[in-house]
Amino acid sequence: MTEELLKRVADSLERIAENYPERESIRFFAADTDIVTAGTSLTVTFLLNWRHFRIKVSELYADARTDVNYEWFFAGSYYNFNEVTFDFGKKAVEDAYHEIKLVISNTGAVDQEVGYYVKGWAVAKES
């Protein structure tokens, strides 16, 4: 019984370790603001430093603006929202998708200032 309980605790800790930042994790918050000219789309590509970090992304965010559409491409997935949240973090795939792409399209006739960020945590790989 005790061994079984310990195993369950260990499994839980393992899941927590996998899904939550560790003590040594680096919390990152990469953000910027741009003016998206009317009738244009701004493609922002975040290149992930996956060679040196194990990266988990918890939030993809862009300001909601009138007549502006948003598309996030991350880890082989596509999100047609201005804001995407991953409660347990989404792991950055360490291959061809080692980047996050945000496409902000301003279909309106007025320039829009849009703030955006990528938020998450990372653990430095042992070299």
Binding site: F28, A31, S41, T45, N49, N69, F73, G115
Partner: protein
């Protein structure tokens, strides 16, 4: 913006940010249309398409030699001999012929046997008018032939 952004630093796990601005209408990395273009852009495209079509149409018309000019004429018989509107080639794309006065017979240079009675009309397309002959259906009964057509 609800959350204030900060400047990206090189030491973070995101090592680089690239930005590209393009006109809407470009396709995204998945090859999908990013979103509908703005109205002005669409209008411009439609206009350009219209211009292109007009150009193609004009080119085809030029190749086919269709002028669109209206041809009209009238001929009243004075004898029973076959007659025609044109002695040299005059190609019509469409034509309507109406007979008045007395019945007339239509055909080619050799025979005129197709009868069109007074008040009746016939129409056909793509003919060289110099090859269309007509004459009185009955000797001495002079008739009139009216024609309205569109030149090639």
């Amino acid at each position: 913006m609800a959350k204030v952004p900060k400047t990206i630093t090189a030491s973070e796990p995101i090592e680089e940010v690239k930005k590209i601005t393009e006109p809407i209408g470009q396709k995204n990395v998945a090859g999908i249309q990013i979103n509908p273009a703005i109205e002005d852009t669409l209008t411009a495209r439609v206009d350009q398409s219209y211009v292109d079509n007009c150009y193609v149409e004009a080119s085809i018309v030029k190749m086919l030699g269709f002028s669109g000019a209206v041809y009209e004429n009238e001929d009243t018989a004075t004898t029973d001999d076959p007659r025609r509107f044109e002695t040299s080639s005059k190609k019509l794309r469409d034509l309507i012929i109406q007979v008045s006065g007395n019945d007339q017979l239509f055909g080619n240079v050799t025979n005129q046997r197709y009868k069109v009675a007074v008040g009746e009309a016939i129409g056909f397309t793509r003919v060289d008018l110099s090859l269309l002959y007509f004459k009185n259906a009955a000797a001495g009964q002079n008739g009139t032939v009216n024609i309205l057509g569109v030149e090639e």
